[in-house]
């Protein structure tokens, strides 16, 4: 035998904990950065990552993966897939890149937090590779959309979105900053890798890859499935940490972190992923409904991951399951109506055929969301466009930073969940959002939602133009109907026919 097997030396490479004496253990691993769980010394050295990879394996495998993804891109560069894509599909890409690319790059620093501050040496090495992965995801998801910047100004938002106060980006930052940028190493492993990546990125990347392949966008399909292969490795960083916490009687702390992260992830997905899957993706390319994807990836798979780990389902699970069929329809209605405030062109997605699909996937859709869309459709058909745009702001939740909404029409259930804390009145969109705030009020209490900022006079002039300026979004970038209202023609024809008859 000329070369050793990986496992002959793997353990040595992760036997790197030592007892400091020139500084104290608490100085080397400060509680706020490393996590303060009061575990006995040595407990973290039992950390054993299930997905093992060495440095030489990593650079080899990743080199090959990159060769694959970049060569597909190069081969298809002149194929005019973007130019010929349905406008709804372009919106999918714009929303995805803007909300995701630099967030992934930021995750490299969350991984670096685990690398530097985790008391578990195995986690430190895995997070080193995880950090590289996230640089990859940030860089690829900037390089790929950059090809399209000269064709469409909205594509600039693949880069620009994170620098703005655009409302959806405030929500995205609030969530990602909460679970990955401002937590201790162990919490990052639970909240980012276990809670978010195990469940939700699977859904975003594999679900969207399925739709992309259906839509013929092989570059995008290839890109995001390649990214997912990295996620499935580094998403396993959190599991062994949870195991150690549970074994040492810290299940409650672990569970709380999971519950907070899963709820925030759900809310963000309800505005980002729900509309693109159920409304923007052309009907003929929809592989499954958003709810079906969620049930497959989050409910079936993630539920099992939780229970395998010895954790409970989050206390709000019943409500979450019910919301799977509702919240994102409201988010879509809102982002469509307030479309000048987003950097993509929302597709209405409400032709008669699409409505039939929605009714089939979400029984009762026509009696609830459909009633609101009837009004929008009438205004568009009447040419009453002023009424098809907003004049006021929605009220947004002080936790998820997204509009407070419920189900309209026959099921009307819109409700505010207020809370007074240190003399300030906060508003939440759900019991769970309010509960998250109450777990650690000081993390959130000093933050102003975009509506709080508006009411405080920080957005001037106090109208849509002032709001757009504040969000750093201008004509040429502002969203409008993806299909330039072509979908309304069929309703116009239906009305003409009715009138004639």
């Amino acid at each position: 035998m000329a070369l050793l097997n990986r496992m002959d030396w793997y353990d040595l490479a992760r036997s790197t904990n030592w007892t400091p004496s020139y500084v104290s253990d608490g100085e080397l691993f400060p509680a706020e950065l490393s996590g303060d769980y009061g575990l006995p010394q040595g407990a973290w050295e039992k950390y054993d990552e299930p997905y093992k990879q060495t440095y030489p394996e990593y650079v080899k495998v990743q080199r090959e993966k990159d060769a694959g993804a970049y060569s597909v891109k190069a081969a298809l560069e002149r194929s005019r897939i973007f130019e010929n894509a349905d406008p709804g599909w372009k919106s999918v890409m714009k929303a995805h890149y803007g909300a995701i690319a630099r967030g992934e790059y930021a995750a490299a620093s969350a991984e670096a937090r685990m690398m530097r501050f985790s008391p578990a040496p195995g986690m430190r090495n895995m997070a080193t590779l995880g950090c590289l992965d996230e640089i990859r995801h940030g860089q690829m998801q900037l390089y790929f959309p950059h090809e399209h910047v000269s064709k469409d100004r909205q594509m600039d938002w693949a880069f620009k979105a994170y620098d703005t106060n655009e409302w959806a980006m405030i929500a995205a930052r609030h969530f990602f900053d909460d679970i990955m940028m401002t937590r201790d190493a162990i919490s990052v492993s639970i909240m980012l890798t276990f809670s978010f990546e195990t469940g939700f990125t699977n859904m975003q990347f594999l679900g969207l890859a399925a739709d992309a392949a259906e839509a013929g966008d092989h570059t995008f399909a290839n890109l995001i499935s390649s990214i997912q292969t990295d996620e499935s490795r580094h998403a396993q960083i959190g599991g062994p940490a949870l195991k150690i916490l549970i074994e040492n009687g810290k299940k409650e702390e672990a569970q709380r972190r999971v519950d907070i992260a899963v709820w925030g992830a759900w809310k963000l997905f309800s505005v980002l992923t729900g509309p693109i899957m159920d409304y923007y993706t052309p009907l003929e390319h929809r592989k499954q409904s958003f709810k079906e994807f969620m049930e497959e990836w989050i409910v079936a798979q993630f539920e099992r991951a939780l229970t395998d780990m010895g954790l409970e389902l989050p206390w709000y699970w019943e409500q979450f399951l019910a919301d799977l069929g509702e919240t994102h329809h409201g988010m879509h209605l809102g982002s469509y109506y307030w479309r000048p405030t987003v950097w993509w062109n929302p597709a209405a997605g409400v032709t008669p055929q699409e409505r039939a699909w929605l009714e089939e996937k979400y029984p009762g859709w026509n009696d609830t969301w459909g009633q609101c869309w009837d009004v929008i459709i009438d205004n568009v058909v009447d040419g009453n466009m002023a009424k098809a745009y907003p004049e006021t702001l929605p009220y947004v939740c002080n936790m998820c930073q997204l509009p407070i909404l419920g189900t309209p029409g026959k099921k009307w259930n819109v409700k505010d969940y207020p809370l007074e804390y240190k003399g300030r009145l906060y508003h939440f969109g759900s019991e769970v959002d309010r509960w998250v705030f109450q777990q650690e009020p000081e993390r959130y209490a000093g933050h102003l939602s975009i509506v709080d900022r508006f009411l405080a006079g920080m957005i001037q002039p106090m109208d849509l133009s002032g709001a757009l300026q504040y969000m750093n979004i201008a004509p040429g970038e502002c969203g409008d109907d993806a299909h330039n209202y072509a979908w309304a023609e069929v309703y116009r024809a239906m009305r003409a026919q009715r009138n004639a008859g």
Partner: protein
Amino acid sequence: MTEPQQLKPLKTWSHLAARRRKPSEYEIVSANLHYNDRDPDAPYELSPGMFMNEWYKKNTFATALKHEDWNAFRDPEEVVYRTYNLMQDGQETYVFGLFDQFNQREHDQALDPRWAGTLARMYAPVRYLFHTVQMASAYVGQVSPASTITNCNYFQMADSLRWVSHTAYRTKELSTAFPDKGFARDERAYWEKDPVWQGFRELMEKTLTVWDWGEAIIVLNLIAKPAIEESVLRKLGESARHNGDMLLGLITDAQLIDSARHRRWLASFIKMALETPGNLELIQSWVAKWEPLADKAIEAYCSMLPDVADPAASAKAATRAFRHSLGL
């Protein structure tokens, strides 16, 4: 009322479009990626006063090491993720080729047992030291004010894991050839107690607890790493060659290729830092503060290296020559 002007598509990201030249792939995917400098009051979108916001306000944005635009920093080699893997996969193929070839030639069996004892004490424990560099680079990266600076430190962190891995691999092989020397067993004890390592352990424990970004990037890259590289790479490699251990000499040479790349980004960084009046004196004050600790570490380690002429003096001189070459 006139219609506001419609923004037109640009040739590149709007933040790069003002300049006339075409951006490289490196710039497209590396520059201005951090978003925590939007709001000086709240780097992250949460309560301005929460712990981590205060941490970044203090340690990243209020450091004494100032520059009007750290985001203008460019890695002179423009390393991006995919070129990093191309480069390091090639390097690893080379190193593992060495492992393979020297193993076939029964290299370890031919080593003098006394040299094997030296390796157990002076070489195998170095994985702890390399791991501290991995950790310190991860910290400097996560608090750097510009993504282009962050990335250099993250690649350096990964390179440190590479060095840890080489050491672990060789430690295991040596434990088979010399079962009585304590390989794969005694490294932690050497690292924690043996006088040869205490200088480096003190240096790195203290380096790892410098939270101010400006001081941390200087101490790690200008003081600690040069001391480590001149000692446990260059001088240990020399000692190895004098003791018939060609393999170790070749491994340290391969690692010095990484180190040379780190020094090239550092040189650009220092050049940029010196554009701001006051930074020269500030950096010099940090060097003056930390150099004695690094010198002590070099002396403790190098004085025990066999068969190298005056290793401590020449290692110390090399660290100074490097700093001098950067205008310090």
